[in-house]
Symmetry: C2
Subunit: 145 residues, 2 copies
């Protein structure tokens, strides 16, 4: 699918606020509601918009600890690891990467002792390098161009 300026602007606005109605979106972008509505249906059906979600403060929800892990698989147990990870809660992502490690994984925890437990659980099929997150630099929502 070929995206034009309007599509990108719609994505931009929905990035900032996914609860906008078609009508509000139309007003913001000086179009009619049906025009916007049709674009969004397309964006959804092409899998460009994959979902509508919220951003939460993990700390306030009981997960004050965030870690990034470089994961190196032992003895080719890739599938064991993948299956294990895909059922773990509080995993923001798990990417296969180029470089010395095999995966990078980001996960939220209740406490540091839960981090320790996670590392222990993984240890039969992978070694890990752990990065504890202290804080975050604020970044822009997205796109614009």
């Amino acid at each position: 699918m070929k995206l034009d300026d309007l599509d990108l602007k719609i994505i931009d606005e929905l990035m900032k606020n996914s609860r906008l109605s078609m009508r509000e979106l139309a007003r913001l972008l000086n179009r009619s509601a049906p025009a916007i509505s049709e674009r969004i249906k397309q964006l959804e059906s092409f899998g460009i918009i994959k979902g509508y979600t919220i951003q939460i403060d993990y700390g306030k929800v009981g997960y004050p600890v965030c870690c990034l892990f470089e994961v190196t698989i032992k003895g080719g147990q890739y599938d064991t690891f993948k299956k294990y990870v895909s059922n773990l809660p509080q995993v923001e992502f798990c990417h296969r990467i180029a470089g010395s490690a095999c995966f990078v994984l980001k996960r939220y925890f209740h406490s540091l002792s839960d981090v320790e437990q996670f590392i222990d659980e993984v240890s039969p099929f992978a070694t890990t390098v752990t990065h504890v997150v202290f804080s975050s630099v604020e970044t822009k929502p997205f796109i614009s161009l």
Copy 2:
């Protein structure tokens, strides 16, 4: 703020679909719409729900390359780096971390040559270790408990 089961369920549902109306949410959780509405207002005002956004396929939007960077600041130029990063587009996050590196940053690019350019731009005030993302392991949306 103390969160109870209902709050967590609301967060869970909104994680899966942030466009749910109060009424639909109420139906899903066997409550009345005003009850849900008030909870959400609280969750917002306490900063627990930080925003409503969409998930997009970055590849289909012109950013097929994703990289993670371990960033080590040179000569204490932290503020230079932070300021630079906070105005960069397509940065998913930039975390200050414990360990050998200072930051971990995730960013999307049009091409590998844009990655190269980014590394060059950062080089005056930081050294980088680059991890190119090949693919992702599917993970659960979130929370539940």
